[in-house]
């Protein structure tokens, strides 16, 4: 098992730096292209939500990102001290509507849920803990 820990600040520049590092770590660990896509997508979508909607103040906040790479599961854990937000509680947008009425939001959570094998959320010590699993062989 390989374990990696990263901390980003609540700005998008910080997120993109870490994304590049995570992509390279996954590429060196025999992870399938599809699984890399799923993990990168989960980080981008979930971290973007935290950065955009998690905080009311202008302070700098840290978001912890942990990545455990096992032969049968990649476990991504994201921990933030933003507003309580359970991405599993969000109703997924209606994707059957026509172009005129189709909402342009809500796709990030739908994508992350669909591409990961499991998602778990809990709120502890005023922090959000989100754990996402992806099969590295898929």
């Amino acid at each position: 098992m390989e374990k990696f820990s990263f901390t980003i600040c609540n700005n998008l520049g910080s997120l993109s730096e870490i994304s590049a590092i995570v992509r390279s770590v996954l590429g060196k660990n025999m992870v399938s292209a599809e699984a890399i896509y799923a993990v990168m997508l989960a980080i981008e979508e979930m971290a973007t939500n935290i950065i955009k909607y998690g905080y009311d103040d202008d302070a700098i906040h840290e978001i912890d990102i942990e990545l455990c790479i096992n032969s049968d599961a990649i476990v991504l854990t994201m921990i933030d001290d933003g507003h309580e937000f359970d991405p599993l509680s969000v109703e997924v947008s209606d994707i059957s509507s026509s172009l005129d009425v189709r909402a342009i939001g809500g796709m990030g959570i739908l994508l992350t849920r669909s591409m990961s094998d499991s998602m778990q959320y809990c709120r502890k010590n005023n922090k959000n803990f989100l754990q996402i699993k992806v099969d590295p062989r898929k």
Partner: protein, 112 residues
């Protein structure tokens, strides 16, 4: 992220996107993409060089497609890589606008 335009004739604008349409990539091309969609011409969007597409990139495509549709124009997506195609299918893009394999097919669809 790069955006190049190419002439597709018949009053169609061709747009080739290349790179990762993540939050950084979208910020780099979004303004230009919106300006092209505002020209009032149908658009062919070549996705063959797009390696990653996140929801912000989809929002950019969808907003432009909605604008074109309201103006009686079309947007056709061309040749997404398999992972990108899978992502598009999860959110139901194929029900909203045509996704085809070649530029010729796209031109034909728009000219119909």
């Amino acid at each position: 992220m790069e955006l190049n335009t190419f002439d597709s004739g018949n009053g169609i604008t061709g747009v080739g996107l290349s790179g990762s349409l993540d939050i950084v990539g979208v910020a780099e091309v979004e303004m230009e993409f919106i300006q092209i969609a505002a020209l009032g011409k149908s658009m062919i969007v070549d996705l063959s060089e797009v390696s990653f597409l996140a929801s912000l990139g989809m929002r950019m495509l969808l907003s432009a497609a909605k604008k074109l549709h309201a103006d009686g124009r079309k947007m056709v997506l061309v040749a997404p890589q398999s992972a990108v195609r899978a992502a598009l299918e999860i959110v139901g893009f194929q029900m909203l606008l045509p996704v085809v394999q070649t530029l010729d097919e796209a031109t034909e669809l728009i000219s119909e």
